[in-house]
């Protein structure tokens, strides 16, 4: 029974969990969301710029987009956050007096998310039928307006599930900010629970944090599946009743 007690005390120490939960909800959760959501939004903007550059007719823009994407997709998140957060920290402090690690952490997360999101957007935009651009141009839209009003909105719609996946990745990667050193009020979910774990000698706070991460990410995963299904079946439900009847008639 000692082993079982040891196990329960390590992972399911309810007292430790009860103590950490308020801190996690009031400090950790908001900070995690600030980091993830702001870098998701900025990453989308950067990604859209990279995607438009990536399909541009200008080879220099295409090359810049390509090289950027290769670099930031190919590096581990922990390396980018440490290099940018610790490397640029003193410079930012000298220039602006800001000591908060959030701006640089968001910058690092954005730079990486932008590379992934750029590829997502690019594949979405390129999957839009060429006839859409042609029809827009035939109506008299210029290239930019045709892309902006017709092609890009369709491309983005198709890759919404992949974008939500990126948001999930950002929620998880935001935990790496603890490497930059944070004050008590700047701790996100992981750091809050890690501090409690260190104090209590039990891993239970981390289990609690894990549950909170799952409460955030699992619904998003299901949202992805739901959107995926709707995007696919929305296309299948095409034929009108009279047309469907006509098809049946033809098959006979």
């Amino acid at each position: 029974m000692d082993a079982l007690d040891q196990f329960l005390k390590t992972f399911f120490d309810w007292q430790a969990i009860g103590e950490v939960i308020p801190q996690m909800l009031t400090v950790g959760l908001p900070n995690t969301l600030i980091l993830a959501v702001s870098s998701a939004i900025l990453g989308c903007i950067l990604g859209l710029v990279l995607a438009v550059m990536g399909i541009s007719r200008n080879p220099v823009l295409r090359w810049i987009s390509r090289v950027y994407t290769d670099i930031f997709r190919g590096l581990p998140a922990i390396l980018v956050i440490v290099v940018i957060g610790i490397g640029l920290g003193p410079i930012l402090r000298q220039l602006t007096g800001i000591t908060n690690p959030f701006p640089l952490a968001i910058l690092a997360l954005t730079l990486m998310a932008g590379a992934y999101i750029g590829e997502i957007f690019r594949s979405g935009i390129q999957s839009v039928d060429k006839g859409q651009l042609e029809a827009s141009r035939a109506l008299g839209f210029g290239y930019g307006q045709a892309m902006l009003l017709v092609v890009i909105p369709q491309g983005i719609r198709r890759v919404l599930p992949a974008l939500v996946n990126q948001l999930i990745a950002l929620i998880k990667d935001s935990s790496l900010i603890y490497l930059l050193g944070v004050t008590a009020g700047q701790r996100e979910l992981y750091r809050v629970s890690n501090d409690y774990a260190a104090n209590s000698g039990s891993l239970s706070p981390l289990i609690a944090a894990g549950l909170l991460y799952l409460i955030l990410t699992v619904p998003l995963t299901h949202l992805v599946n739901f959107m995926d299904k709707r995007l696919r079946e929305g296309k299948a439900a095409r034929a009108e009743p009279d047309e469907a009847a006509a098809l049946v008639g033809k098959g006979a």
């Binding site: 006839g131 042609e134 029809a135 109506l139 008299g140 929305g234 009108e240």
Partner: protein
């Protein structure tokens, strides 16, 4: 059908090559105001490419295009395309917009009409093609024939001087072709200047004023439907007609 402010269209000595592949080799074509010109020919003969060159979706290597007798090659190509409506084989409606938005988008964004005015005008155009009741549907909820009629309404809303039809009925199920051809016939009778690339020999013969037979990037024969269908002069046209009729 209402009156159209249609114009004449002239293409002279159009040349176009994709790399070493010479797609158009000196095309001349004149479509007088208010007439319908059908363009026929085997696939790969350059018919669809000719349409795209005449509204400068593809720029010709050589030659001239004139609308109402004035060369348009120096104009902004976007300006030119606003004066020429085009209908595609695959309809190319915007799937992320409703039917009425498909028609009003260019009115609002290009013609700079206020939104409600563009919407009202779009509804009028939809009524003309008999689809006002589908205004708030999405294109994929319409049959192919209905989608093509919306595409025609979308082009007409811009009050074009010339309409291009690129195999507008080729992708339709047989039972849906009729409605679209009837609409095209109405436009033709209403005085629209039209260039119709088609495999519908009935439409060619009964509706168009002139028929142009293209093969291998050149105009082989051109004339009235009667001349081309009853007395084809060349072996190539005779061969083509015996294949399709």
């Amino acid at each position: 059908m209402s009156e159209f402010k249609s114009g004449s269209l002239t293409a002279s000595n159009i040349h176009l090559a994709f790399g070493t592949n010479k797609v158009l080799r000196g095309i001349d074509m004149h479509v007088p105001q208010g007439t319908t010109a059908s363009v026929i020919g085997p696939s790969g003969s350059g018919k669809s490419t000719l349409l795209r060159v005449m509204n400068r979706l593809i720029e010709p290597d050589q030659g001239d295009i004139a609308l109402d007798g004035r060369s348009v090659l120096q104009d902004n190509p976007d300006e030119l395309r606003r004066r020429i409506g085009m209908v595609f084989q695959q309809f190319n409606l915007f799937p992320h917009k409703t039917v009425v938005q498909n028609v009003s988008l260019a009115l609002h964004k290009i013609r700079k009409m206020p939104k409600d005015q563009a919407h009202a005008k779009a509804l009028e155009q939809l009524e003309l093609v008999g689809l006002k009741h589908k205004a708030d549907s999405r294109p994929f909820n319409l049959s192919g024939g209905q989608q093509q009629r919306v595409a025609i309404a979308r082009a007409l809303a811009m009050e074009p001087e010339v309409m291009f039809f690129d195999e507008a009925t080729s992708a339709l199920d047989p039972e849906l072709v009729k409605g679209v051809l009837a609409l095209m016939t109405d436009l033709s009778k209403g005085g629209m200047t039209m260039v119709v690339v088609t495999h519908e020999m009935g439409f060619c013969r009964n509706v168009s004023d002139t028929v142009t037979f293209m093969d291998d990037g050149v105009v082989v024969e051109t004339g009235s439907p009667l001349e081309l269908f009853s007395e084809p002069k060349t072996q190539r046209l005779r061969g083509f007609l015996s294949d399709v009729l």
